[in-house]
């Protein structure tokens, strides 16, 4: 190769390498999840959409969207319909298992005031662990049969644990583990993905239409939507866990629900809780 051609070749190679290097980080950035930026944008979307709603009030779901409903809710809170569940949960939580241990032995701080830290990412398992799942694992580790994720016992236990965390802001952590980031991203994808014959995503109702009516119901904003869980729903005439809420949402849009605590639902809970970081736990709650 002649020296001049060699110089041309070298400069072309250098230019290509520079181009490749400068292009690579932006392409990477576009595809890499950024939970901090997501949470900031999420909060901004809702506070811009509802400038009159106080930040802390988003956790009250439909009651934050409508003044009449808000008044009804304030009255309802005088004699809250979830009270019986709360009492039952407190009693169940304190009652020792057959082996003499109790729920308090399975959780940090004896299980009191820790709701805001769930779901967590378990780096040993490489998966998201929700409070409902942790409670059943605690039972099984102590020789007790697990509870149904969609029935009253689980609702009562989580109601009591939420109550002991009332006012504490959601503090969901995403550790520096690519699997945690992947779980977060999977949850986000699930949230925005349309499914069921009605072709709805979670976001169709809870991002695009909060405050609007769907039949007789006022739709809750996604921001803070899990802070009040579990909830007493008048429509259900009873209490419902987060699992019950996810399963019911899927059925209502004519999609076959997954099994409670399947990976997708665990990841969805992780995502939704993370983007509501900073908002206070208000559970147990009541909804129309």
């Amino acid at each position: 190769m002649k020296p001049r051609s060699a110089i041309h070749f070298a400069s072309a190679a250098l230019a290509l390498a520079t181009l490749a290097l400068s292009a690579a980080p932006s392409a990477f950035a576009a595809d890499t999840p950024d939970p901090v930026a997501d949470a900031k944008a999420f909060r901004k979307y809702f506070t811009d959409k509802f400038p009159k709603v106080k930040l802390q009030d988003f956790v009250n779901g439909p009651y934050s969207m409508n003044e009449d409903l808000h008044r009804q809710w304030e009255e309802k809170e005088q004699f809250p319909p979830y009270e019986f569940s709360l009492d039952l949960g407190k009693e169940m939580f304190a009652k020792p298992f057959k082996n003499g241990k109790s729920y308090a032995d399975c959780f940090a701080n004896g299980g009191i005031g820790i709701r805001q830290n769930y779901p967590t990412f378990d780096e040993k398992e490489g998966k998201v662990v929700t409070l409902e799942l942790a409670l059943n694992r605690c039972r099984e580790a102590n020789g007790e049969a697990p509870f149904s994720y969609v029935k009253d016992e689980m609702a009562a236990l989580t109601a009591y644990m939420a109550f002991t965390s009332r006012g504490k802001p959601f503090d969901i952590k995403i550790p520096a583990d690519p699997r945690a980031l992947e779980a977060y991203q999977n949850g986000k994808r699930y949230f925005y993905t349309r499914r069921g014959q009605l072709n709805f995503s979670c976001a169709t109702c809870h991002v695009q239409s909060p405050g609007e009516r769907i039949r007789a119901e006022v739709l809750a904003p996604a921001f803070g939507i899990l802070n009040a869980m579990p909830i007493y729903r008048s429509e259900w005439s009873g209490m419902g866990t987060i699992s019950r809420r996810f399963v019911t949402c899927n059925s209502q849009i004519r999609g076959v629900p997954l099994n409670p605590q399947d990976d997708e639902y665990r990841d969805l809970e992780y995502y939704l809780s993370y983007v509501s970081n900073g908002l206070p736990i208000s559970g147990p709650g009541a909804r129309p």
Binding site: F42, Y45, K188, T193, R194, R195, Q197, T204, V207, S251
Partner: protein, 105 residues
């Protein structure tokens, strides 16, 4: 001329009637083939974690009709179930990228 024309019209009409009645009388084998196709499509939707409740309902209706010997209805419901399952597959496939369009950024 007129009589022969009338005869041909009658023949065609009879042929059409014969063909449509042959089409209407679906057999158990027709049902089994149609149901298997619906089942296969719904299995694919399950692998994509995106089955629809309406697919399951149409499949249940197909089985019920077949059990009562109404294979026309059983085939029709199976075909409906297959179409619904295919729509759910299409939805899951297109949503692999489409979900990003509504993401809050």
């Amino acid at each position: 001329m007129r009589t022969s024309m009338l005869k041909s019209i009658l023949t065609v009409a009879l042929l059409i009637a014969g063909a449509s009645s042959a089409r209407a009388a679906a057999s158990e084998a027709d049902f089994k083939a149609a149901y298997a196709a619906a089942e296969a499509a719904n299995k694919e939707a399950a692998a994509l974690r995106n089955q629809w409740t309406t697919t399951a309902a149409a499949m249940a209706a197909a089985k019920k009709a077949a059990d009562s010997g109404d294979f026309d209805q059983a085939v029709a419901a199976s075909k409906e179930a297959e179409a619904l399952a295919k729509a759910s597959i299409y939805q899951a496939t297109s949503e692999k990228e489409a979900w990003k369009a509504i993401e809050i950024r």
